[in-house]
Symmetry: C2
Subunit: 626 residues, 2 copies
């Protein structure tokens, strides 16, 4: 029996297009003598489509195209693919969902000669960016409405019993039901997991260990097929990386597809033995290279999907916009990228020189639009303005130098980049990193603006790592080396003069790790945890979380010699993280997700005031009596 | 037995503050000889706090304060209040949630003399802005881990059996389990529903019918206690209106608290009879007045919660900014509101005059900051700009008159209002209505900007209704009457000259209803539905949805005499609704929700391309052969 999986690209919310993709793959498989074709979860509808699942006419189309695709099955050819269905279409009677709309299910359609079976997904993820129970019944909920559904029954094809699961079904650690175990108990000979699962740094290693453990524990081969594509939940964009893989009954990896490549991979199954035919093998990669690939894929596809061709980048000569420029040139071509340097009187020759050299290295378009005149016009118009009321009273508006910092930032984003982008038929980019995004160290409608935050899920240290990686991969200086040693600075006032070694108030080697502990750790570090480790003198070890980084106990002590200084800094940034940072993130552009917790729809936030727990306040009281 | 409910204000994410509130209420109740005090759902933690539920130290604090509050119970005094708990604290052994974190539950704590019982919420809402299963186990899931939980058992207090439910438990139409019925079957004599449920236009009427039906069907009194407060999910802000109420065993309403008022309401229970003591009664209101109250409450509390005092409003002389100004002046006082008119050469004396009169009528601050000079500076700097590349090639950037429209809008929002607001220690407002928000008829970083979209959930017709309501309630002209008859216009070009009767491309009486059918109807209208009704000649009746509006079949025919014109308009706006509209909403400010479907976290969207179903395309093909 010849089995193939196809790692295909799925377009969100376009069943007509996805059907065409699947149909071509199915016909190619038939022509190649394949007996069973496996396609990813949600191959017909796509996956991240927001509340579009509520649109019955859309679901109708998905059902239509799934039916059409199923008709490709014949006496020698079966196929298993993921799609959506009304529960009523499966059990033959109307069923209302908990929201009063028609109940829907995420299913594997098992299409054999003249017949169709559906397996309903049993475990529905409901964390991070996932919210399947919002839209779908799980298998158990569905069974309340029909006893015929027979959960965890293997499906027989060509005399072989296949245990078909869908994505989360294979990640059963935290659930009461264990679909793989149940299917195996019921006689499944080959275990299948059709998935549609996005890239997260480090996930592939865990996936390999995880499914290998299923295979070896149950003594049965496991086929994991994942799709490709770009999907988003509005605020957060995810790249689906494929990396489909197969393990034999000993748990050994016998095939592993690449990231972001469309592939057909074939296997022969004979008497309990699954063997690969010319299958691709796992290529060991580094995490930084995976992130690089993901960002390029994400930028390229987000632009293509949005019918965008060109970008304008505000190039300050700092490391963030420099990295953004290098990524966009790689993703969409130098002819489609325009760097704009926008100096005011606070910008140094150093950073202007870096921006120019960057454009030269990349070969893209470059121009300079000074903002001094406009900033002065705004100052002239607003400073000293005297609004009045009906009684003839008067107030005076005064622009401080801090206000003028934000005026400059907004002038760059909303006035200059906005105008150039629309004139060039382009969009302009957001170049913020995750560290500044965490604490809102950026100006709304200024550097918070942009169509896409391509590096918004990278901590500052990853920004540097990626710059070095890009130069090293290119074998030449694309990112000007000087930017890698320059003090990061917004250059919005004399207090931020890079040539005097002045700049950002963030101590990146420390704050990067602190913010990561707050936001990205699965079990978030609390203020009390952080303070306790500071007092114990092992905070660097705690925050490094097993990694080796620039952060040392000495570095922490040198910046914060006593608890009072430490606490002042801790609370300063915590308040921004939980206060102004949230207000800015609400209006920030979509972020390309790469870590295990991206801002936006993955890490959901309410704009409420920061809260300090009793435990923390008592600890602080004991230490500094405040 | 004396029973009291207290309609209290709950602060999201602040258990220390909420505990103080509850404690004061409990002590007041004890002093008044109350035997049983009822408080709303989630009285300790608050409700909309995003993923803060993942922070164990926060839950620890909630448990601590709930325990403290429970200690107020004594031999004559019991209390029932909502809070959060780790499941492990209830069943005494560790339980992991589906996300691998500690499992949590939304509970009613029933505190009696020296003992505490917990009832776990059985039905967890997972639609609109709700996503409780993301964070909490429901009763059934909890029971997998402990057989001692005994669902749906009444709680005996002073010899009376109370059936305690939590919010969604009382709205069981679409669920398999019926908590009220089960509790009644188990002998409950009085049914209680502690809630924390936000305002939605029209919801109170449905609530009264719904709970009355429970009471009369089961022949038992029902006490519904709801909280007050402002809570948000980042993109969407909800006002919790109270409107607590009580029905006797015949289903008759015997008490009904007001909207947004803190109240203690007392009852006497003797032998199956619940009678009210000096209880407030239902006051019939109009929907527009409820919306008015909600917006005032929302603005006032959102500002207070964010520690904001002053706002700057770009006052164009159009109806939207005019309404916003009237609302803010009412909510936060005329001394805290500054109207800024920002004319370019396209602005008419008419609208400038309206803006001036508005400021005069309201008594707030007013000033004018022309943008012509700045717009011209931008034109001079950008138009004809010639970026180059390393090869010495050159391109030319040309600003079209359409580009200049957006330049003006961004100049107003990001340059002028941004600068004035920061200089005055204020924020500036977003004045967009729901109609333009639907199709993105506004400029990003221009009129899309602002700290809060106070009228972003009002269709254009509601904007007018509310203006009239405000004048009528005030008994004088606050909103200049002229604005109510003026053609709506952006005044960004000669093609939008209001004095020539030119303006917005939207036909509000029609498009308001069309967009409402797409977005706000529970069962969303599809393009095929719309087109079919157009062809059948009953589209106005269909879109009016049982209401009487300005939309008539004649109006539709006069604008769209043939199917081709109709379809072109339909697709134009649908593409914007599902395309650019989404891109702009992702970066738009939070919206104050009043309808049954607000943009943001209530109506979730992915930025994907518009999809046209087979059914629609076939229908279109039949009609116009395209």
């Amino acid at each position: 029996m010849k089995i193939r999986y196809s790692q295909i690209t799925i377009t969100p919310g376009n069943p007509a297009k996805n059907y065409e993709t699947c149909l071509a793959v199915a016909r190619r498989a038939k022509a190649a003598g394949v007996n069973l074709l496996l396609l990813p979860e949600m191959s017909i509808p796509g996956y991240m489509i927001g509340d579009k699942w509520e649109e019955n006419d859309f679901i109708d189309d998905c059902e239509y195209f799934a039916n059409e695709l199923a008709k490709e099955a014949d006496e020698n050819f079966s196929l298993i693919f993921g799609t959506v269905a009304f529960l009523e279409s499966i059990i033959g009677k109307p069923v209302g969902g908990y929201d009063g709309r028609k109940a829907k299910v995420n299913v594997a359609c098992i299409a054999t000669n003249g017949s169709k079976q559906f397996r309903i997904k049993a475990l529905l993820p409901n964390y991070r960016e996932f919210e399947e129970p919002r839209h779908f019944f799980d298998q158990l909920s569905a069974m309340f409405h029909s006893k015929d559904l027979m959960p965890f029954q293997p499906s027989e094809i060509c005399g072989v019993k296949f245990g078909v699961t869908i994505c989360e079904d294979g990640w059963d650690d935290d659930y009461v039901f264990k679909p793989f175990d149940r299917l195996s108990d019921q006689g499944a000979e080959v275990l299948i997991n059709i998935s549609y699962s996005p890239f997260t740094a480090g996930k592939n290693q865990s996936r390999i260990r995880h499914f290998s453990a299923h295979a070896s524990k149950l003594g049965k081969p496991v086929i994991y097929v994942n799709g490709l594509g770009l999907q988003n939940n509005g605020k957060t964009i995810f790249c689906f990386d494929g990396s489909s893989a197969v393990w034999n009954s000993k748990g050994e990896l016998i095939a592993h597809s690449g990231m972001y490549t469309e592939e057909d991979v074939d296997f022969e199954y004979v008497d309990g033995n699954l063997t690969a035919i010319n299958a691709p093998q796992l290529v060991q990669t580094t995490e930084i290279d995976d992130i690089h690939k993901t960002l390029i894929y994400g930028i390229r596809n987000y632009m293509a999907q949005s019918h965008l061709q060109r970008v304008v980048i505000g190039a300050s000569g700092g490391v963030d916009s420099t990295l953004a420029a290098a990524l966009y040139v790689e993703a969409i071509g130098k002819e489609n990228v325009l760097l704009v340097n926008m100096p005011s009187r606070f910008n140094s020759k150093t950073t202007i020189g870096i921006a120019e050299r960057l454009a030269h290295n990349l070969g893209c378009w470059y121009t300079s639009v000074p903002i001094q005149e406009s900033a002065e016009l705004t100052h002239r118009q607003i400073d000293g303005l005297k609004p009045t009321n009906a009684n003839g009273d008067e107030i005076t508006i005064n622009l401080s130098s801090f206000n003028m910092e934000n005026v400059q930032a907004r002038d760059r984003g909303s006035r200059v980049l906005g105008a150039i982008a629309s004139a060039w038929g382009a969009v302009f980019t957001n170049n913020g990193n995750k560290t500044e995004t965490t604490v809102g160290y950026a100006t709304l409608y200024g550097d918070v603006a942009g169509f896409l935050a391509a590096i918004g899920d990278l901590w500052k240290h990853t920004v540097y790592d990626l710059c070095r990686h890009i130069n090293s991969k290119a074998g030449k200086e694309l990112v000007p080396n000087e930017v890698l040693t320059l003090k990061p600075s917004a250059e919005l006032s004399d207090n931020q003069a890079v040539d005097k070694g002045l700049g950002d108030p963030l101590i990146y080697p420390y704050h990067d790790r602190l913010f990561e502990a707050w936001q990205q750790w699965w079990n978030h570090a609390s203020l009390a945890d952080i303070l306790q480790h500071y007092l114990d003198g092992d905070l660097a070890a705690y925050l490094n979380h097993g990694e080796e980084t620039e952060l040392t106990e000495d570095l922490i002590r040198s910046h914060f010699p006593d608890a009072k200084t430490f606490i002042a800094d801790l609370e300063r940034w915590y308040k921004l993280f939980k206060g102004m940072g949230i207000a800015k993130r609400i209006q920030a552009p979509p972020i390309l997700a790469v870590t295990r917790r991206a801002y936006g729809f993955d890490y959901r936030e309410s704009a409420i005031q920061p809260y300090f727990t009793r435990k923390y306040l008592e600890m602080k009281e004991r230490i500094i009596g405040e």
